[in-house]
Symmetry: C2
């Protein structure tokens, strides 16, 4: 048995050790979970006793295979529900994360199966993030940051690094979405900002923005 809160910790640990490629530290987890370091230590003991993590005092923490299974399944459910909300209920990509945070905790194997089927077994969610399969395997894909492209390059937007709702709404306002075709018109050497055309229209994008957008080069 794993509680709602334990699930969230396991997901946080997964994300952190995935990003940093090393055991997750107490403070990093506290930040991700928006809680105190003391609370994290308490929880790590509990998770360790339940066999979800490998934990040694002061040494940081790694998921066990049991914990990893739970974390990837949670991510799978989160992304499937986000897909449902966007594809079926017509939500925009900036409005689905908080709802999916709740829905990912619904417990029912058959529900996930049927949902996956209903959605047509999507491989990526509305933000371009890969949806792990039932075994926790992610589809890998070549993706580079928009910031790395050069003048005259053509590309298609396939994902975003940042998931902040305000950032997503900014992209909406510039007509930048998954699948949008962009052409680099100009790149400023000094501040690294770019002028691009998005589906015909010209927009200027600062480096802060272009470093958050994943693209696939075109032609």
């Amino acid at each position: 048995m794993v509680t709602h809160t334990e699930e969230n910790y396991l997901k946080a640990i997964y994300k952190i050790s995935e990003k940093d490629k090393k055991p997750a530290g107490t403070n990093a987890i506290a930040k991700e979970m928006d809680t105190s370091a003391a609370s994290v230590t308490d929880m790590l003991k509990r998770l360790s006793e339940k066999g979800f993590i490998k934990y040694q005092k002061y040494k940081g923490v790694n998921l066990s295979s049991k914990g990893s299974k739970i974390a990837t399944n949670l991510i799978r459910k989160h992304r499937l529900w986000e897909s449902f909300l966007v594809d079926k209920l017509d939500f925009t990509w900036d409005a689905v994360h908080d709802i999916a945070e709740q829905m990912e905790h619904i417990k029912s194997e058959v529900l996930v199966q049927k949902l996956d089927e209903y959605l047509g077994f999507p491989k990526f969610d509305p933000h371009g993030d890969p949806i792990p399969n039932a075994d926790g395997k992610f589809t890998l894909r070549v993706q580079i940051l928009l910031s790395l492209l050069r003048k005259n390059d053509k590309a298609v937007i396939i994902g975003v690094k940042e998931h902040d709702d305000d950032f997503l709404r900014f992209l909406n306002s510039k007509n930048l979405q998954l699948g949008s075709k962009v052409i680099i018109i100009e790149k400023n050497d000094y501040d690294k900002s770019m002028t691009v055309t998005v589906e015909g229209v010209q927009v200027m994008l600062s480096e802060k923005i272009t470093k958050q957008i994943y693209v696939k080069k075109h032609e």
Copy 2:
């Protein structure tokens, strides 16, 4: 703010006082919630302090308008999700209750709105129970128990009183579902059992069964 558990208590209180047409007693709530009477008393104090119920020691409990709003909204969400599971994900009516018990707690006004629209604003759930609208109003409907019909009566099944999964699966096995047309062939005076045809096929139904099925008389 209302917790998951508080929501469940409010729903239980709603159901009980609806059925008994009087304030809900501690023991009745304890039974519905599958918990101890002592825990219920604790919770009643908390709910009372939050203004969700009107409670006087030893006198039983009634929902306040605030509490009633929460309870009916929970029922609305429960029944909408059950409809979703059956209509969109192809679940059978005996497999949706436990999942909907979880989904009813998802917090998002706009989600409920969009779900309602996506389902085509259904008025009844897969068990024939009315789905309250956003104001908590239920659609009323003439419905009588199958047990009250007489020889040669014709009727359509529009609901079930009992929601137990085994009972629902029993009905599946006899091909009895919402919308099924039944004709009373014979009614046994002694044990009140009935022989009926369901979509052409003859079956025998004990009174225990016929008292759990709501129908609308036909012609």
